[in-house]
Symmetry: C2
Subunit: 224 residues, 2 copies
């Protein structure tokens, strides 16, 4: 399984030899959300050939970017996780996400939102940002039938996949949620037009919309 080698002693070329492989960036995105089993990766990456996934995981393991964790007590399955070296890819993945998001308008024919994609988008939008100490809110975000959550607490923002217990706010939207994160669709308009349906305090959704922001493009108005 010889990866493409560009023959240049160059950081970008070395990176390209890895992330330039088909599907690799999406595998890394899914793993950046958290450790995943083989079958979860298959489910989260519709269309990936299982042989390709197996090859990519092996290559990433050989490169020290991903590790296979043997089943521990209680668990019964191997899980794949990012190594510290893999975690160091996060700034690059974030930068690519922001750039790619800047080129998105509406979904193309057949494009879907996966749990990992919305979770990763929210993580990028949170951006390790700091929030006021007194903010203590939990959000559940539904896009189609996938769910993620956002927790603001202790001056930090945490984002994860799946539902959360007793969310203060439940946000239900379609792909238009992108407009909110991009700062192109303001919170009140989003609710007024029905692009976003809310369960909970609209002021907390306003806070959500003001705090989470992607892309950081010069063409996008700054956070107020």
């Amino acid at each position: 399984m010889t990866n493409q080698h560009y023959g240049q002693f160059c950081g970008l070329a070395r990176a390209a030899e890895i992330v330039g492989q088909r599907w690799t960036l999406l595998v890394l995105r899914d793993l950046s959300v958290g450790p995943r089993r083989y079958s979860e990766l298959v489910a989260g990456l519709p269309g990936i050939p299982t042989g390709t996934l197996a090859s990519r995981l092996k290559e990433l393991e050989d490169e020290g970017i991903v590790e296979r964790l043997a089943p521990r007590g209680g668990e019964r399955s191997i899980v794949y996780a990012l190594t510290p070296r893999g975690e160091e890819l996060r700034p690059a993945l974030d930068a690519l996400s922001r750039w790619g998001a800047g080129g998105m308008r509406a979904p193309r024919e057949g494009e879907i939102v996966t749990t990992a994609s919305i979770t990763a988008a929210l993580q990028v939008a949170a951006g390790g940002g700091v929030v006021p100490e007194e903010w203590n809110t939990t959000y559940e975000v539904h896009v189609g039938d996938v769910v993620a959550h956002v927790i603001m607490r202790d001056a930090a923002i945490a984002v994860g996949s799946g539902p959360i217990e007793n969310p203060a706010v439940v946000i239900t939207a379609g792909p238009q949620i992108r407009g909110v994160l991009a700062g192109e669709l303001d919170a009140q308009t989003a609710i007024a037009t029905g692009a976003v349906q809310l369960k909970g305090d609209p002021a907390l959704f306003q806070r959500f919309a003001d705090t989470l922001r992607v892309p950081f493009s010069v063409n996008v108005p700054p956070i107020v």
Copy 2:
């Protein structure tokens, strides 16, 4: 020429559809250094099939990332350049470069340094950094037979390809220059061991080594 489509409404997926193509990242790196002609790109990317380069340029043009500039008065050739949308890729290219550089040790068999690769590396290392107003120095960097230059002036650092007139310092090195930029090889040792040959004031090379830094890994000591 159907690009790979991942079928996900996700910034990273959209980015992957473009930069995940073979050679694309290196084409973008070469163009990030400055506008280039077709033949210059061929020369700077040893091994690229000319048909592949033509395809990539066309795809990048269709995506609004690269533009073909018709020959103007004086010039006689088409040049390719990044559009503003292409320029916005720079943070992502930089992040990937830093990450890739963190995994490099010695060159692998047959790996070379190109003009664009060393120039891009120095640009990343400069990182839009600010330097003291009074620094006013020009460096010429030779690695093998490729040349780049660094200019510190007006509190800014500029990096370009090729030689420069009357450089204050001429730095000649092999791929070990990476160690200097990585902060793994300090300036005095580099000179003492002959890894770097200098023409000019060693104190100015010390300044060079202290100011230019890649990768920003947690494992690398900070700039003093």
